[in-house]
Symmetry: C2
Subunit: 122 residues, 2 copies
């Protein structure tokens, strides 16, 4: 059995003015040692669990490119569609700032409260 | 609970002459519909399960950059080290050829028999 678990969570801003394209990634206490030195990175890969997809969504194997129904369906492995058997999202982000266990990143394509699975140096 | 399952498996060549840097990815029957149109792709992201890592490896949060012990340890999220809480590997490959449910790819950094979790258009 292959099980994954969150190392952190996406938090949208709740107040104040911020560059609209930035979000916060809060890393859980028990994983914060894994952040050592990350403040020197420019770009990071964020792997996250697309928690809004259902079990039924995981069974969808073909979709219209970019949801455009005028285009013929293609296999999900030939697309960037969120629907796929393992709902793991992947986005390259710019690291704007590290504040303790919180990373402020630009360009993350994930909903508020998305579980984060992994971060890799890009 | 967040569970993933393999959509296919990495198969090294067992015979014949091949470009040394290519491997085969065999997609399981029940997921082959997800390959439709993939033959037109140049590059793909392969997400795979690093099956040789142990549960103990998943608890390692800091490592030497590229295993170089003369360098100070950094957090695994600031590295490309295979050790990390969720052992998901990520490599961008060149699609050389599709042969039915088998993809011949160049540049995959994964062992023989590695479970493949996802393929995304790069």
């Amino acid at each position: 059995m292959m099980q994954v678990y969150p190392i952190g969570i996406v938090r949208y801003w709740t107040e104040g003015k911020h560059t609209k394209n930035t979000v916060q990634i809060e890393i859980y206490d028990q994983f914060s040692a894994g952040l050592k030195g990350i403040e020197n990175a420019d770009s990071l890969w964020i792997l996250f669990w697309m928690h809004k997809l259902s079990e039924a969504d995981r069974k969808v194997l073909q979709a219209h490119p970019r949801g455009d129904v005028t285009k013929e369906k293609r296999g999900v492995f030939a697309l960037r569609s969120p629907m796929r058997p393992n709902p793991i999202g992947l986005t390259k982000v710019k690291l704007v700032e590290r504040k303790g266990d919180v990373l402020i990143v630009e360009g993350l394509d994930a909903f508020d409260e998305t579980p984060v699975l992994d971060i890799k140096l890009a």
